[in-house]
Amino acid sequence: MKETALKAIIWVHEDALRSSHPVFFDSGNATRAFIFDDALLEQKRYSLKRLQFITETLIEMNVPIYRGDTCACLKTLAAETGANQIRTADSPDPAIEQCATNLRESLDVVVVKDDGFLPELDGEFHRFFKFWDKVKKPLLS
């Protein structure tokens, strides 16, 4: 286990910028990386305010920041460091899953869930208050 963790790269993304996120547990001296993806930057056109907010957070977390194609950067970093695993935080963002799928062709990818907040619940809820009625009990205890 420990040996695997030491060969991992922790791919940090904008949905999980907290040092206590479980993705960082047992990660030893694994390389960390945040990548501003060129294609997503072009598509999202984040303002200076957003770019600075994320940058400030990463600096405080001591996470190296890169810019380029996310998958290509991670593969390059893996090759440079001899890593064979990418660890990243779970996210509903399909772009993250898409990149993870691409990386799985050559690397082991581990997606780490955050600690839970809401109880696990099956089914779909199209209106919030029906959902709230199902989840509120533990949240209000």
């Binding site: 904008e14 949905d15 303002s47 200076l48 305010k49 957070t57 977390m61 399909p94 709230w132």
Partner: protein, 269 residues
């Protein structure tokens, strides 16, 4: 692959580094730096200041005791359970239900996003406004983008967005409603614009909320009038009828003006 090594000697230096590194994707007009600093220390400091009881009492008011924690929660900098625990340490959970409910909204949207990622940019349901999607403009008009609509309160709220990257939730609804219903612009154009600027912008909360206002994820369109803005924002924002003429009408008058083809039942004719 480029490594970004910004100058961190001061916040101003950092801003210059960010401007330089991202020069190709930032417009020349984009020079505002948010008063919200990033990072866990800033998040914790803000968390220390929350008053959930006052929040429940005043959250709909522009000057209400809102927490402004959303940029930190959106990026996972603060775990929602830490926020809930901090709130319930200040008051029994049942007395601050609204606070915890609002915290839960984000996770409701995230869950929906995970189940239906395709809903993020497509109309989930038809508009219930009497208009079809094709009757809404694709692009955001320049005067809206710049906060120069000539409607004082709307321009004030847009300047909040452009200058700080933060908007009070109620003012987001006003601006979204103005864009979609008063100017008949597709919600997607407004949602893209908000995501560019809002520090807490995430596709799920942002886009589903726009769809709720637009009525493509709700039973009816959300709209408002000047009386409502004056009630919640009147002490801080120019809500004079002379400077907000387009909004100065009763709900009945506005409904007839904005949705002339909508039946009395709320369904399209």
């Amino acid at each position: 692959m480029q490594r970004f090594q910004p100058n961190t000697s001061s916040r101003e230096s950092l801003t210059e580094s960010v401007q330089e590194f991202f020069a190709d994707v930032l417009s020349d007009e984009d020079i505002s730096v948010s008063p919200f600093p990033g990072g866990e220390k800033a998040a914790q400091a803000r968390l220390e200041d929350i008053d959930p009881v006052a929040y429940c009492r005043s959250r709909n008011f522009y000057a209400g005791a809102v927490t402004r924690l959303s940029p930190y929660i959106r990026h996972g900098i603060l775990h929602p359970e830490a926020v809930r625990q901090k709130a319930t340490a200040a008051a029994p959970a049942k007395t601050i239900e609204k606070f915890i409910q609002e915290l839960t909204w984000r996770f409701f949207w995230q869950r929906t996003y995970r189940q239906h990622p395709e809903w993020i940019w497509q109309d989930i349901e038809p508009y219930k406004t009497g208009f079809s999607s094709a009757e809404y403009a694709d692009e955001l008009p320049y005067d809206i983008e710049q906060g120069e609509t000539g409607i004082a309160c709307i321009d004030h709220f847009i300047q909040d967005l452009l200058q700080t990257g933060y908007m009070h939730n109620h003012t987001r609804m006003y601006v979204a409603s103005y864009v979609v219903h008063f100017r008949r612009v597709k919600w997607q154009a407004g949602a893209r614009w908000f995501l560019r600027h809002l520090l807490d912008g995430d596709p799920a909360s942002n886009n589903f909320s726009w769809q709720w206002v637009a009525s493509t994820f709700a039973h009816k369109p959300y709209f408002f009038n000047l009386d409502n803005v004056a009630k919640y924002c009147g002490n801080q924002v120019d809500c004079s009828p002379a400077h907000n003429q387009a909004l100065d009408a009763s709900y009945e008058q506005l409904e007839a003006r904005l949705f002339p083809h909508k039946g009395a039942s709320g369904k399209s004719l």
